[in-house]
């Protein structure tokens, strides 16, 4: 194929030139629209499977659509869903839970990730394998991660309960996910386990880009490791940290997977977050209009956050 193509390119018989699709594509690649043509297949896919559904979703949030009650029709209802949301206690609760869930998960994951990255960046002998093992949770599926931790924290068979009782921290086994006061905290622990390697990964890559000279100069000036971290490492990592935080917040706000598997929003609504609430409205109640409105609000809030965050981290830079 390859030989034939080059042969054709050098000495193209007139008939083949018109019929051979490879040669035709080759000629097409010499036109000045080639760079745009290369984008066409992926752009079509993205338009059809992302952009069109998203626009449709926005539109849906202003319409009545219940798959299980087609008699209600699909009429235009204006801001009905948004007004209903304003009076929906569960919406406000899940908004609050989303804020708690995202804030604490990001803080813990960033903390653990930074510690891991700093430790790995010292390149001590034998730590390479640990670097690989530490990254592993990030690549494991939510379903397995969720059930692993459900087993570890099980109220009857959980090994974590057993250890805590043996050490003397707990008196009896605790039903972490059944108690509204601990359910969200336990879920955040699982999420931290799953997500902190992402921070470790990005921060470690960022650390490798910090010039050694800076540290040498600082230690000549008598700055200890803590001050070096505060005055050199963190400022040098600012853009990496900003990128990592944004990506992680987007991921945490948008994906209800782990909570869906661990608690399903319960007990009560104590672990209900916006994305999960919207998903359940669609998946369980088939109330597509309201679910659409919930996800639109979520999307707008996320955009506002991203915009504000980027602005703030830029302002600091000047």
């Amino acid at each position: 194929m390859a030989e034939r193509m080059s042969a054709l390119a050098q000495n193209p018989p007139s008939v083949w030139r018109r019929l051979d699709p490879a040669a035709a594509l080759g000629r097409l690649s010499e036109t000045r629209y080639w760079m745009y043509l290369l984008l066409v297949p992926s752009a079509i896919l993205i338009l059809a499977v992302v952009l069109y559904p998203t626009v449709y979703g926005f539109q849906l949030s202003f319409r009545q659509m219940r798959l299980n009650r087609p008699d209600l029709g699909t009429g235009f209802v204006g801001f009905k869903h948004y007004i209903a949301m304003w009076h929906d206690k569960v919406f406000w609760l899940s908004l609050r839970n989303t804020a708690v869930w995202v804030t604490f998960a990001v803080i813990i994951e960033f903390g653990l990730g930074l510690v891991a990255a700093l430790a790995l960046n010292r390149n001590l002998p034998g730590t390479k394998i640990m670097g690989v093992l530490i990254l592993l949770p990030f690549f494991l599926p939510n379903v397995v991660a969720g059930h692993m931790w459900a087993l570890l924290l099980d109220p009857r068979l959980g090994v974590i309960n057993d250890i805590l009782v043996r050490v003397g921290i707990l008196d009896t086994y605790k039903a972490w996910f059944a108690d509204p006061s601990t359910a969200l905290g336990a879920a955040i622990l699982v999420e931290a386990w799953h997500g902190f390697p992402f921070f470790a990964l990005l921060l470690l890559a960022g650390l490798k880009g910090v010039p050694d000279d800076l540290y040498k100069a600082a230690s000549v000036d008598g700055a200890g490791p803590i001050r070096q971290l505060r005055l050199i490492t963190l400022p040098m990592l600012r853009s990496v940290i900003a990128a990592a935080v944004i990506l992680r917040v987007i991921g945490l706000v948008n994906s209800p997977d782990l909570l869906l598997i661990l608690t399903g929003g319960g007990p009560g609504q104590s672990t209900q977050v916006l994305s999960l609430y919207a998903f359940q409205k669609a998946y369980k109640d088939f109330n597509f209009g309201y679910a659409g409105a919930l996800s639109v609000v979520m999307f707008v809030l996320l955009m506002l956050f991203a915009w504000a965050y980027v602005r703030v981290s830029k302002v600091n830079q000047d």
Binding site: A9, L25, G26, E30, W34, M35, Y36, L38, L39, S42, A43, L45, I46, V49, V50, P53, T54, Y56, F58, L112, V115, A116, A119, L120, T127, M130, V132, L133, I134, L135, L136, F139, P141, V143, M148, W149, L151, L157, W193, L201, L202, L204, A205, K216, V220, G222, P225, V240, A244, N254, S255, P256, L260, F279, A282, A291, G292, S295, M298, F299
Partner: protein
């Protein structure tokens, strides 16, 4: 740190090892415990006193999950969906990444940003219309439809990661090929793609792992045994049949084996690809 004393340095080294060992245990303990659970008899799991090291080992749980449920079908479906997703990404994403990497043209930056912004769209906002649309054109509950949905949110990642690998491939060989009479297409296929081979593999593996693990879209867009993937199947089994812990653990271990193998093989290149974009930008 040239002036820090040897004692201080020793202290930091010990602290470093302590931190890393603690984090490593934190990371792999759940995995180890799941593996141990999958090898225990149910009677040894549900006991009064916890067995840390199993006194006897059995593979019954693995036999049970593999033969008594539709697990092989689920795994096969996942395999088909994952392979289809990777092929779709490879065909469309490679071209786009090449365009972004090798050409400079008006609108390029905006287009690249556009590909990235797509990642911000909430899955839930897309899932509902996708459900309606796919039901309309008969792609609901089909493996191809699911792969199409996966491609939509994995393609931007694929393009960005692969662009990094293409950027790293030297341009001189390509120019030489062009001077020798190669078309742009020929130079891309015969020079650039082989040069970026490792990057192609690592990027594909990254997408494959994500598709293999995906849960939410699969839950919404598949409804029958014919196209259901393993994460959904496993989750439904837990709900419907009160799956015993040992069997559930065995199912989990079986389904993460492919992930671990792929991760182990291309871990270095993949990690490089994931981080390159974020650090530069």
């Amino acid at each position: 740190m040239i002036t820090t004393s040897r004692r201080a340095r020793l202290g930091w080294n010990i602290a470093t090892y302590a931190v890393l060992i603690t984090l490593t245990i934190f990371c792999i303990f759940p995995l180890v415990w799941t593996l141990l659970t999958s090898l225990k008899y149910e009677a040894d799991i549900v006991t009064q006193t916890m067995q840390y090291i199993p006194k006897r080992i059995t593979f019954d749980n693995y036999v049970a999950i593999w033969t008594q449920s539709g697990f092989p079908t689920l795994v096969f479906n996942s395999f088909v969906v994952t392979a289809t997703t990777v092929v779709l990404c490879l065909i469309t994403g490679t071209l786009a990444a090449y365009s972004f990497s090798r050409f400079h043209y008006p609108g390029r930056g905006a287009l690249m940003l556009g590909y990235l912004v797509i990642r911000m769209f909430p899955a839930v906002l897309m899932i509902i219309p996708l459900f309606i649309l796919m039901r309309g054109i008969g792609l609901l509950d089909s493996r191809f439809g699911l792969a199409l949905a996966y491609t939509s949110f994995l393609l931007p990642l694929f393009v960005w990661m692969l662009k990094g690998f293409f950027d790293a491939a030297p341009k001189e060989l390509e120019s030489a090929a062009r001077i020798d009479g190669c078309t742009r297409l020929g130079a891309m296929i015969r020079i650039v793609l082989p040069l970026a081979r490792n990057g192609l593999v690592a990027t594909s593996v990254f997408v494959a792992i994500a598709a293999w693990n995906e849960f939410l879209f699969a839950l919404m867009l598949t409804t029958s045994q014919g196209s259901r993937t393993w994460p959904v199947g496993l989750q439904l089994m837990v709900g419907e049949f009160q799956l015993p812990w040992g069997v559930l653990a065995a199912g989990g271990i079986i389904s993460i084996i492919p992930v671990m193998i792929l991760f182990a093989i291309v871990q270095r290149t993949m990690v490089h690809g994931i981080t390159a974009g974020a650090v530069k930008g």
